[in-house]
């Protein structure tokens, strides 16, 4: 196991190197931050030079990148071009907000999709199954930004029940978390259903029934664990997708998380902030995938021994 984790962490280093290199390079193609920072119209080339000099942008790209890597080794992401705040500080504020949102929505999605998926599988072809499938298809077809806007319109503007934006108090969680959870649930329900159908046709399920076990035990002890592998795999993948989705959802709800931070960094060409956020997110995705691999072993002993 230790060897396996070590191998994975080694891989993680390469992933982060590749991701940061691509991101750092790509953002530098998008334009000159000095122009952005200088603002006003009567700027001389000399002024821009000075700004670049101050930010260290006149150095060759590779030198800038290596400086960034050097900082990374000691956990220093540098300072924001705007206001000079430490990037680490910005991230340490934004990361919990995003993780809280991501895990809440993931949790809601699991709590909804597992029982619904199992119920649909058991009632295959009958009306509860049809209904669950149709509703999940509808859920799949919504773009999340549209869903987010509709929710704000309905719950905040029309009913005045929930705050339209910001992170203040538990009720501010409801709409952003639900928006993400609905999209996730729509796919997860189908996944649980298909995976359960496959498992329920296995002979050991008939054996479990022939022992006189209750349906609940057959379904949730014998069948669910065998159906969990595809779900866990998919949740791992979703986590990556979640990060992309979160940028949009955080924008709509003005959520002070990593998505907002990254978005602002891109529009302001704030290289250090963008590099920092992307590095941290990449690290998280790698970690989640490692956790998924470890979870496989916990779920299925056949994978453990390999």
């Amino acid at each position: 196991m230790a060897g396996f984790i070590f191998k994975r962490l080694l891989q993680a280093i390469f992933v982060i190197l590749a991701v940061t290199l691509i991101v750092s390079f790509a953002i530098r193609l998008s334009g000159d931050p000095a122009v952005m920072l200088a603002g006003g119209s009567n700027i001389t080339e000399k002024d821009l030079q000075n700004i670049r000099q101050a930010l260290g942008l006149e150095r060759p790209f590779i030198v800038q990148y290596l400086t960034f890597l050097k900082g990374l080794l000691v956990g220093d992401f540098g300072r924001s071009f705007m206001g000079g705040t430490s990037v680490s500080l910005l991230i340490s504020k934004a990361l919990p907000a995003t993780l809280l949102l991501a895990f809440t929505s993931l949790l809601i999605s699991i709590l909804l999709s597992v029982p619904l998926g199992v119920y649909a599988a058991v009632n295959r072809g009958r009306w509860p199954d049809q209904l669950i499938r149709i509703v999940s298809l509808v859920g799949l077809s919504f773009p999340n930004f549209w869903l987010a806007i509709m929710m704000v319109l309905f719950f905040s503007i029309t009913l005045g029940l929930l705050p339209p934006s910001g992170m203040e108090g538990p009720e501010s969680f409801i709409m952003p978390a639900l928006t993400m959870a609905i999209i996730l649930t729509a796919t997860n329900v189908r996944l649980v259903r298909t995976s359960m159908l496959e498992t329920l046709s296995q002979q050991y399920i008939m054996v479990a029934r022939s022992k006189g076990l209750r349906d609940r035990v057959v379904l949730y002890k014998h069948a669910l664990r065998n159906s969990a592998i595809p779900l866990v795999t998919y949740i791992g993948l979703q986590f990556g997708g979640l990060v992309g989705g979160i940028v949009i959802v955080e924008r709509v709800f003005n959520w002070p998380g990593m998505g907002t931070l990254a978005f602002d960094a891109i529009s302001g060409r704030d290289y250090p902030v963008l590099q920092g956020t992307i590095t941290v997110l990449a690290l998280f995705i790698v970690l989640i995938n490692l956790m998924v691999d470890i979870a496989y072993g916990l779920i299925d002993p056949r994978i453990r021994t390999e």
């Binding site: 002979q203 054996v207 076990l213 056949r302």
Partner: protein
Amino acid sequence: MSDNSPSSQRQDGPLLSVRSLSVEFGAGPTPFQAVKNVSFDVQPGRTLAIVGESGSGKSVTSLAIMRLTDYTGGRISSGEVLFRPSDGPALDLVGASDARLREIRGNEIAMIFQEPMTSLNPVFTIGNQIGEALTLHEGLNVRDARLRAKELLQKVRLPDADTLLDRYPHQLSGGMRQRVMIAMALACGPKLLIADEPTTALDVTIQAQILNIIRDLQAEMGTAVIFITHDMGVVAEMADDVVVMWKGEKVEQAPVREIFASPQHPYTKALLSAVPRLGSLTGQPLPKRTPVMIMDGGVPKQTGATHVQDTADYTKPILQVEKLTTRFDVGKTFFGRVTHRVHAVEEVSFDIFPGETLALVGESGSGKSTIGRTLQQLVEPTGGTVRFDGRDMNAMSPSERRGLRQQIQYIFQDPFASLDPRHTVGFSIAEPIVVHGLLKDRKAIDRRVHELLEQVGLQPQHAKRYPHEFSGGQRQRICIARALASDPKLVIADESVSALDVSIQAQIVNLLMELQERRRLSYLFITHDMAVVEKISHRVAVLYLGQIVEIGTRQAVFENPQHSYTRKLLSAVPIADPERERAKTRIEGEIPSPVRPVGQEPAIHRMREVGPGHWVAVEADQLRGAA
């Protein structure tokens, strides 16, 4: 267990009484009737065999007894299943509440299923799965359940019961899993055990052990058994009474001796006539075709004639295999260094002559299929030489090797998986002709396909149909036609008749023999089924752990087996004759694994000649110990 069951047990009447049971599947005005109006009784402590071929409804009947058909989309449309539980009067399981049924399932009636590989839940330990029924039905706590589970594992003769409790199913062999399954089924001391083809998927020596365990435990615990099987040999060995099912109906019921001695229903007669019986060719040097009785629209009809298969020409071999070795790497270290190898085939040598059938027999891991695949160039050999028609395969150019594929054809075990479902059978049969460029003209190819279909007993117009429109037996005929399309000299038949019902199997065997005579074909017949081997082969090679332990004429090997493994294999085959004394020698032991650490090469057997062309491996002590 035939005559020694205490008669006192029977005075209360039957333990289970199935009355006019019908089971249907599917909705709508015309549901499919899988079981029609079937009635039978099971007496306490006795064994009832339900026999039938695929689609006879025997498995559905067995599931319907505990109403497990509820979970497969089946519906009991009429009839009663009266069961007498130990704690009260008989009740009808068809109308019983779910709660009452759950009290009976696993407790009063238990079931063993066909596939030991899939009937245990892969994610729970053995101890957990055995203990489950004990905590449920007997209210044991986890510790007591574990102790009982250990006793049960010892009862089914599994060594190391203690460590086994914490193991997972994938760490056990098929035979061991089936023992665990038996331990699980017998955990609560059921009155009735339903065994649905419990040994069909097992090797023959393992089958013999499992049958013994079931028989012994049944005698010890007084359990009644319903034994579902298609194997008349197993019926003869296990059953007191027999119910024969055909197309969802019971066609005959009688005590086991009567069924074999004087079958009444035409279907039973046909079934028994098709069963290959080990020892039926004793005293005869050559294989023989015999007529088969088949059911033609409910009327028995005889096909084929008796014909001695005098086709082999021993002047010059068509195929010479010398010291063939095939190994596969498994198990690698972190740095990709190989740590273990499967020694699938080790220095195997044999010849096949024109018009001859050589049977390769052995159990799992014997390497028999690997030899076939190596000859067909599907697997690269590690060493040794193969000469076809005198030419060394190693020395051939790539195009010559491709040409060889035309001369050597392969028939696979599973006729369902080996035909492309998206192409017509005509296309599949024509493919080898086109690939090898044997005929160019479209019309000529079509004519050839039609001829081939006729030769295998189908009709030319079948060429336009798709595989799913045919039955298993017809598909195997199509596979044979495809194998013959390139006009090969050697056909490798790898378990080609093993998956077929006996009546179909007998016809396919006859067809293969007829084609051999007509086209002077040589067959390499790979199988685990000794009774079929006896019928079809001129010579036999017995394989054990990748090496030949005995090779000779069929008569010599079957009538005068010299190697202990050959004897063990022959004695393990269930004989379809209830009058025959059951073999006294007990077979024990698992089949060892051909996987070895790198550097530990297996010792190569020395062979000695014990008769003309009859060679036997000199037995090392270690091999004698295992056998």
